[in-house]
Symmetry: C2
Subunit: 207 residues, 2 copies
């Protein structure tokens, strides 16, 4: 009987192997040979799925974005906890608090630089960021309805700021061990979210 | 009489030509030929100062960092205005509110991606960010002494957050025309700074 190959699963496994290498050694560690070794496959099989190094990195970006997006979406849908806790968890999904999220920050930063120069990548990155903001907006609105966050804040502006702050700190932590160890010792997110418990200082706070 | 050539001035002029191209067309527009044309010099003279494209980009990064750092330093030293206004101006120096600052965001993002992979670049980028945070810390302290910002905020934590927020939003605006046009219509910075007028919500707010 011929062996059944699930190509989608293989692509996912390879993308996960790429992300594991990125978590351990960074983007520079990603080579066709290293990924083949990590996945336990031949380079010949690997190049059937990803033609070159850049395609492997793009596969890893899409895998990381899909996994994170699905987690955030499930957090928003389930809402087993209060909205503020959900909001904090959604933001912490994107801080490099462990190896998996460190890989996420690194692969996104790699493609941010490309997105500034290549329009197709720019559209893709803009889409991921827009999704992330929409999740944050929805949970901010819910927290306002629950009375936990103050209604004077514009949810769109709050999401723009919270997403920029989280992403900015995630990237800065790649360059600064003090920032990384401080955020791993204690998440900065609850302190940020607390800002939105008080009334807005101006008509358009944090925007 | 032999012509006197000020080599430092020439390097600055070339770096400014690179930044002008980045402002207009982005990093991809930077080629030896395009920079020679922008500066009005021969490619031969240009390659005497910058051996290749990457060296030109690095020269542009250092020029942009020096100009911005000097401006921020002068703002901190002069302090002709109240500290909150100085703080707002220091942060706005780094938002892509005009073509010059757009080039700054683009050249920094290009080297952020490199800094995640190359240790020498990482050290350099970490140094620029640390300087920026120190300026912000100093002005936050001054604003607290003036009674404009609340003393319950840790200036180090406030600077970490304000710098991450500013940088994160600057980068996101590269991918999102709504964010860019909104920040150009009205600076978001005063709203962020207002957060620090109120007492800290927790012992370690915004960190």
């Amino acid at each position: 009987m011929p062996k059944t190959v699930n190509h989608d699963e293989r692509r996912k496994d390879l993308a996960d192997a790429v992300l594991a290498i990125i978590a351990r050694t960074g983007i520079n560690g990603v080579t066709v040979r290293a990924v083949a070794q990590e996945a336990g496959w031949s380079t010949g099989v690997l190049t059937h799925y990803f033609g070159n190094r850049h395609e492997m990195l793009l596969g890893a970006l899409r895998r990381a974005a899909a996994v994170t997006g699905r987690r955030q979406s499930e957090l928003v849908k389930r809402s087993q906890t209060d909205a503020v806790t959900t909001l904090e968890t959604i933001l912490e999904e994107v801080l490099p608090l462990d190896a998996e999220r460190l890989a996420l920050t690194r692969i996104f930063l790699f493609f941010y630089a490309e997105a500034a120069a290549e329009d197709a990548v720019r559209q893709e990155i803009a889409g991921y960021l827009a999704n992330w903001r929409r999740f944050v907006q929805e949970v901010v609105r819910r927290a306002q309805e629950e009375g936990a966050l103050h209604r004077s804040h514009d949810p769109v502006a709050a999401a723009d700021a919270l997403v920029a702050l989280t992403d900015g700190l995630a990237v800065h932590a790649l360059f600064d061990d003090r920032l990384l160890s401080e955020m791993r010792a204690e998440s900065p997110v609850p302190g940020w979210v607390d800002v939105f418990r008080a009334p807005a200082a101006r008509t358009a706070p944090l925007t």
